[in-house]
């Protein structure tokens, strides 16, 4: 048991193994994710009933909520990957952490934008200093910080370590930030404008939401795999397996691919 775990760990640390396995899995994630998303979105947009309070604007939920959830869990994943990299000196893990940062940031932006747009018809304003909004904004800043570190440090190894430290410190603070923002808001905020509490949703509204959430996670995997493979190619450009792979790769003129 222990030895097989160890073997798995070493395998995961191997770029070539990761490259191959992710190449094999990506299409499946893509397929499943796209199917789920298609079903969920069509169902949510066209078939689910309108909310009796918010009318049709509630259909934004099917992208807003998955993006919000995923951007938060992506940060945790990134910090965890950074921790593994720092503690066990596993380079693969650093690659994954690096690759998650821009994806997570894009999802945080998606959450903020869809939320802001949703706010206009429901709250009558694009932006309020609500607890959730504020903490999502701060999460975006945390992502920006990590990305900025990667951009600012040229030496890759150093950049990975520095970003790892920042991500970990940030993740320790996420619950504190969230708690403080929520607490702050309940103190000041007139209760008129708060985000709807977890609704006891009708199943025909809830199931598509579930589908899109799972679909987003699948897509997320595809994106992480694709970016990781690119990073690996460049890092391992001197190795034989990459050279072979690149020789066989179509050049820019390749009309067939």
């Amino acid at each position: 048991m222990w030895t097989s775990l160890k073997r798995l760990y070493h395998k995961m640390g191997s770029p070539k193994w990761f490259y191959e396995i992710s190449t094999r899995w990506s299409p499946w994630f893509l397929l499943v994710g796209s199917a789920l998303m298609l079903t969920g979105v069509v169902w949510g947009l066209a078939f689910a009933p309108a909310d009796y309070l918010q009318g049709n604007s509630f259909r934004i939920i099917y992208i807003h909520v998955p993006a919000s959830l995923l951007s938060q869990s992506a940060y945790i994943m990134m910090a965890a990957a950074g921790l593994v990299g720092l503690v066990w000196k596993m380079k693969m893990s650093f690659v994954v952490a690096k690759v998650i940062a821009p994806i997570g940031a894009s999802l945080a932006i998606m959450s903020l934008l869809t939320g802001a747009i949703w706010g206009k018809p429901t709250w009558g304003t694009w932006w309020v200093w609500d607890a959730r909004l504020t903490s999502m904004l701060i999460l975006l800043f945390l992502y920006f910080g990590v990305i900025a570190i990667y951009n600012a440090i040229e030496n890759e190894e150093m950049a990975n370590k520095a970003a790892g430290i920042l991500a970990i410190v940030g993740s320790i603070n996420i619950p504190i930030i969230k708690y403080s923002v929520e607490w702050w808001n309940t103190l000041h905020q007139p209760a008129t404008i708060t985000m709807t509490k977890k609704p006891t949703m009708a199943p025909e509204m809830f199931i598509p939401l579930l589908l899109t959430i799972i679909g987003f996670y699948c897509w997320f995997a595809v994106w992480v795999f694709a970016r990781t493979r690119n990073e690996l190619l460049w890092r391992e450009r001197r190795t034989k397996w990459v050279k072979n792979l690149v020789i066989n790769a179509p050049t820019n003129s390749g009309a067939h691919q």
Partner: protein
């Protein structure tokens, strides 16, 4: 990568600092590879090579300030990572940037970098480097050479009785120093080696004493 050895001055003693298979690459250019050496006490070792050969890089690797290398380092035959405390206790390093605060006086600078010595010792050392009378001026009001002399005064403080640093790593210690000063410094370095210290230095000056040379090669393209 050529490695020139002067015969070891003291073959009987165990080596202080060993390097095995050092490899360093910068911007796709291999600075050195498969570098092996054993340095023992009593030696003066010069890292030589043209500008950009990798002398300072090698020094930073030895110091543990740089992580961009492969290979193994041993201090007193112990793995460097485990001997770090001992290594650093024994170490005196003066780099391209000498770590002298321009807003402190020479005396204050030394009081910080050599915390175990007395004020009298510091005045003595400053006198030795020709800075008597300048002890209480702010360092930024000194000339280029005088500023470097403040840092070099540490060499006069690190003798056996005072700071007891046996390993000196000096990156171009003679920069901006006048003739007379260079001769003085060479003398200190020789004395230190004779008292059982190990000195690793780089310089583009000609040294008037015989030293062991580690030659770092011309630039090469990386090819794995």
């Amino acid at each position: 990568m050529a490695l020139e050895y002067l015969p070891d001055t003291d073959l009987s003693s165990k080596p202080l600092l060993c390097a095995r298979g050092l490899y360093c690459e910068r911007d796709d250019r291999v600075l050195f590879k498969d570098l092996n050496f054993d340095l023992s006490s009593g030696q003066i070792v010069r890292l030589a090579g043209p500008n950009g050969a990798g002398k300072s890089s090698l020094m930073r690797i030895l110091l543990g300030l740089s992580a961009s290398y492969e290979g193994a380092l041993y201090w007193h035959e112990q793995d460097m990572a485990r001997a770090l405390y001992d290594f650093r206790s024994d170490l005196l390093y003066i780099g391209h940037d000498v770590g002298v605060k321009s807003n402190l006086t020479p005396e204050e600078n030394l009081a910080w970098s050599c915390p175990n010595v007395t004020k009298q010792d510091i005045y003595g050392a400053l006198k030795r480097v020709g800075l008597s009378g300048f002890e209480d001026l702010l360092t930024h009001g000194l000339s280029a050479g005088q500023q470097r002399r403040v840092a070099l005064a540490r060499l006069f403080l690190s003798s056996k009785e005072l700071e007891n640093k046996s390993l000196w790593i000096l990156d171009e210690p003679f920069t901006a120093i006048d003739k007379h000063g260079v001769a003085d410094l060479e003398q200190v370095i020789v004395n230190h080696a004779q008292q059982g210290g190990l000195v690793i230095l780089t310089t583009h000056h000609d040294l008037s004493v015989p030293v062991k040379t580690i030659m770092l090669g011309q630039t090469q393209k990386a090819s794995l």
